[in-house]
């Protein structure tokens, strides 16, 4: 950068990336480095690029992302714990012209909300489900979730999850892929630039699918909970690659959109 000043580069015509206005200016309530924030941002970028922000209704869960409606500058409704797919069902059926999505953690979607998730997916509701799987109950202090890996430590499995005593982790994404009501089921992550780009494409596809009126598009984002895992954000992303991805492999599981 020999003979050009920063002021010459920092001109409006050279702007290539800034936070979308569909995220409010409130500071996110998430811990430093948490994938919830990244996922919020790319959902909002997709809505902006599709120009459907005025036609979209999001459902916030219970969990760390309970306040998602404070950050996503669109119409939102907050559901009782685990009930987001039921609420989304009602909203989409009453307002079929709207794009409707849920945003749910693994405790919300795969524990208390298992029934709602499975039945909405089996009925083939025409909604998008975004599933943030960090293998733990982040909000309440890092308790074991159905998604916690075998041997993984949590505040309620301090010696690691013993599957004989505590049962096996639940792969909700593989499970819903078996149901006739899902048309697109994929697992992604948001910890590197290339993964963020892939996840954004998947979320875009999920929202585009809603125009087909054919069923649920389900996007799992394997994410970190560095506070619950008791690691730094960068360590947690590495741990996620080494431990979460072998058990929760990334990629499309079902694409049935034709």
């Amino acid at each position: 950068m020999a003979n050009i000043t920063k002021e010459e580069i920092r001109k409006p015509e050279n702007l290539v990336y800034k936070k979308t206005d569909l995220l409010t200016d409130k500071a996110l309530s998430y811990c430093p480095g948490c994938g919830h924030g990244t996922t919020h941002r790319i959902i909002m970028e997709v809505l902006e690029e599709m120009d459907i922000q005025d036609k979209t209704i999001g459902i916030a869960p219970v969990g760390c992302s309970v306040l998602a409606y404070d950050f996503m500058n669109i119409d939102m409704q907050q559901a009782a714990h685990g009930r987001a797919p039921a609420l989304a069902t009602a909203i989409k059926r009453l307002m079929p012209e709207k794009f409707v999505f849920t945003y749910q953690g693994d405790g919300d979607l795969a524990a208390i909300g298992t029934a709602e998730t499975i039945h909405a997916c089996n009925r083939g509701e025409n909604i998008v489900i975004i599933f943030i799987n960090n293998g733990i109950y982040g909000m309440t202090g890092g308790q074991m979730a159905p998604t916690t890996l075998p041997g993984m430590k949590s505040s309620t499995s301090p010696y690691g999850r013993d599957t004989h005593l505590m049962g096996n982790p639940l792969k909700m994404t593989e499970l819903v892929a078996q149901l006739p009501g899902t048309i697109y089921v994929t697992r992604q992550s948001v910890h590197t630039p290339s993964n963020v780009r892939k996840t954004k494409k998947a979320i875009r596809k999920a929202f585009e699918n809603q125009k087909l009126n054919k069923g649920v598009s389900f996007v799992e984002v394997v994410s970190n909970c560095n506070s619950g895992w008791k690691m730094t954000p960068v360590q947690s992303n590495k741990w996620m690659e080494e431990n979460m991805f072998p058990f929760y492999p990334l990629g499309d599981i079902k694409v049935n959109t034709d």
């Binding site: 580069i9 290539v16 800034k18 936070k19 995220l23 500071a27 998430y30 430093p32 480095g33 994938g35």
Partner: protein, 74 residues
């Protein structure tokens, strides 16, 4: 030959010092400051002029606090 130069602006008061942007930068532009912001976080800051405006750092920043500029120079 046309060359691309870039620059980033970090909203240091909103940065949480998570460091996720650091390994994402192919040019090793970013480092955490020894100073802290109003919330007590060691915020991220550019430490050299090698930015190409590739946007990697901004794309992975969980708090969306990085703005990126890119300019072609002849």
């Amino acid at each position: 030959m046309a060359k691309v130069v870039g620059d980033i602006v970090i909203d240091i008061e909103k940065c949480k010092g998570c460091g996720v942007c650091i390994p994402a930068c192919p040019q090793d532009v970013i480092s955490l400051s020894k100073n802290v912001n109003g919330k007590g976080y060691n915020y991220a800051e550019p430490v050299n002029d090698d930015c190409t405006g590739c946007m990697n750092c901004a794309i992975v920043c969980p708090d969306g606090v990085i703005t990126v500029y890119r300019k072609k120079i002849e």
